[in-house]
Subunit: 224 residues, 2 copies
DNA sequence: GAGAATTATGAACGTTATATGAACGGCTGA
DNA sequence: TCAGCCGTTCATATAACGTTCATAATTCTC
């Protein structure tokens, strides 16, 4: 779901934080100093960073500075033993979002991570992520290899439904019930038309497709 | 400048916080319980709330709940003596943004206020900068490739909002709420008219645009 | 392989959402 | 006080969408 980078040179603490995050359904990318963090950031999509301040090579301050100066706006949460006001001042002035003093309560960490994601409007993006493909429910947007397009609502909802449960066959009636409402009087074949349009739209995209299950309905398939 | 409401039943602390904020150029609206806070919120434009949890009549939890349920998205910073995890959990789940435990360092409070305003894009910098394009909130000025023009207020605010969160779709209602006020009775279609005028105005500019998300609202796009 | 059943596809249509132009009235500053 | 700007409303034009329908293509059954 959300991708969080944990930058912390203390191996044990790094591992602890990562484990807690993973347990709470975050995707985690660990790094052990600021330099590694910067290079990993280029290669991974990251929603939020949790970072220590004191670290070898590039420290937390410089990491923050680098990121903000190169335009990264992602939330940065500092976890550190430094408890003096000047440290906090420096951190906040560089553009961090939150500051926790060790020893930290990992449960509070989770709460603060969530609050930051919410505030940065990252968390409300109901998303479906696959390799090469991402569906954004809020924006009705399908992104394939970085290229986004907005779909009409019905088409989007249909695709979203089918890809939410890949390989599971849905009858037309099921789809009608869920997307059109249980009492809809719309012709059941309307589903076909939308499926057809989706196929047209993504004819060239190899990463997913909608299969017909004759006699039953349709099913979504991802990344053969 | 920015308008901050301080909700705290301890008169001395309330006064202290207000004084510090005023000294740092914030406009302050004090309230001494949640009920008063709610009624003052209707009458004043507020950017951020600092609130205690334990208060007579409506407490901090209920205040937060009320606000979030009626659509207010402004940052809420809790200042409280309650230091247990369940308290924090409850607070964050209700939608607070930050949590400080008494006794607090007012200087750190200032830093956190600043961080929240920045993150909520309540224009701490009062500027939005992209390649080729810069929006100056103070002067209502949009600069494209060095050429500046002043926009009418509503048009400017709308553009500013949309470009503050590029690629995020805003419903007309959200935009109305934030730019016109939660209780505004202005026709929702007024948003369309302003969008239309902005498009007219920047028709020739390739660096940003406002896209329609049919059935939902609008979103800003920067530098395709 | 023929006919029946099912699905695919393209075109057309009505509906709804949005875009656009024009006009009105209030406010502001000269 | 008046002109001009601004925000708003309204009426109408336009475009997008969802649906239906007719027909073609495919698959299944016997």
């Amino acid at each position: 779901m959300f991708h969080i980078m944990v930058v912390e040179d203390d191996q044990a603490l790094n591992k602890l934080i990562c484990r807690v995050l993973i347990k709470n359904n975050y995707e985690v990318v660990p790094a052990f100093d600021g330099e590694e963090a910067l290079s990993l950031l280029d290669q991974n999509y990251i929603d939020l960073i949790i970072t220590d301040l004191m670290m070898p090579k590039v420290d937390g301050y410089d990491l923050t500075k680098e990121l903000r100066e190169s335009g990264y706006q992602l939330p940065i949460l500092v976890v550190t033993a430094k408890d003096t006001f000047p440290d906090k001042l420096k951190g906040f002035k560089l553009g961090i979002d939150d500051y926790m003093v060790k020893p930290i309560d990992v449960n509070e960490l989770l709460l603060r991570v969530e609050a930051l994601l919410r505030r940065a409007r990252i968390i409300y993006e109901k998303k479906l992520e696959f390799p090469h493909v991402c569906l954004d429910y809020i924006n009705l947007t399908v992104t394939v290899d970085g290229k986004s397009q907005i779909l009409p609502q019905k088409e989007f909802q249909l695709l979203y439904k089918l890809l939410s449960f890949p390989n599971q066959t849905f009858t037309r009636q099921q789809l009608m019930d869920e997307l059109w409402g249980y009492d809809s009087e719309t012709d059941i074949r309307t589903v076909d038309v939308h499926v057809n349009r989706l196929r047209d739209r993504f004819r060239e995209v190899p990463y997913f497709q909608i299969l017909t299950v004759r006699g039953l309905g349709y099913k979504g398939m991802v990344e053969k």
